[in-house]
């Protein structure tokens, strides 16, 4: 898994690529927690380069979203592909998160 962040005017765009599995998912949660500690409150998570996600990944996404919600923050997603899209659909994450095709649309919608 690789995590890269880019500050935009109204949100932090975090691009996650590779695999989010039981081994790597905790890193994602830690990164988001660190950004929140630095004062970030709005996140666009770009998953266009994410090839694989398991329930461990969903777990760290939901934990991050709960933490943000408590602080009136926001987290939305962009660029979901094949397998990741399917897992978001099956697990109902498609219904509880805002999902956009691109970062630009996400930044407008946030």
């Amino acid at each position: 898994m690789n995590i890269a962040a880019k500050k935009e005017s109204n949100a932090l765009v975090v691009t996650v690529s590779g695999r989010m599995d039981a081994v790597t998912a905790p890193e994602f949660e830690k990164s988001i927690a660190a950004f929140i500690a630095q004062g970030e409150k709005a996140f666009v998570i770009n998953l266009s380069g994410l090839e694989y996600i398991s329930s461990a990944g969903l777990r760290s996404i939901l934990a991050s979203a709960k933490r943000l919600k408590e602080q009136n923050g926001k987290i939305i997603f962009s660029g979901l592909q094949g397998h990741v899209k399917e897992v978001f659909a099956i697990s109902g994450f498609q219904g509880i998160f805002k999902i956009y095709d691109s970062d630009a649309e996400g930044l407008k919608g946030i």
């Binding site: 777990r59 939901l62 509880i96």
Partner: protein
């Protein structure tokens, strides 16, 4: 002709990749698409991490994963000697709850059931034996 694979290892997270690679390599040689192999990988990860996390509270046990292709199907059998537990009996999670209400976790078994074409559990002389079946043709 059929292809089979089998691994037996300590049931610890460090072995997730080794177990996964053996199974996906066999599935790939059986002719499944990369996409469907990703599905198998997911169901397998969910099943084996549950064994790592819950089957042997206190001290890690062993896990044995066997896979075989043949007759248009590919089956993965996960065997552990931990406490008896049948994931097929778990109720489905409530997917309508929003972010604050929704409990963290509880999606692993559900993903397995949704993704595999068939899931079968047996308790066999002290072992949990979970079998996941994938049809060679794309599901549905």
């Amino acid at each position: 002709m059929s292809s089979t694979g089998r691994v037996k290892m300590p049931a610890v997270l460090e072995n997730l990749q080794a177990i996964t690679e053996c199974v996906t390599a066999a599935a790939s040689s059986a002719g499944f698409s990369a996409r469907r192999i990703g599905d198998m990988e997911l169901a397998l990860e969910e099943a084996v991490t549950n064994v790592f996390k819950y089957a042997n509270p206190g001290n890690p046990g062993e896990i044995e994963v066997a896979c075989a292709s043949g007759g248009g199907k590919f089956s993965i059998e996960i065997r552990d000697s931990g406490q008896e537990f049948d994931i097929t009996k778990l109720p489905d999670p409530d997917l309508s709850q929003d972010i604050s209400e929704r409990p963290i976790g509880g999606l692993g078994a559900y993903l397995i059931k949704k993704i595999a074409d068939d899931v079968n559990y047996r308790r066999l002389s002290g072992f949990n034996v979970l079998t996941l079946v994938f049809n060679l043709e794309i599901k549905k």
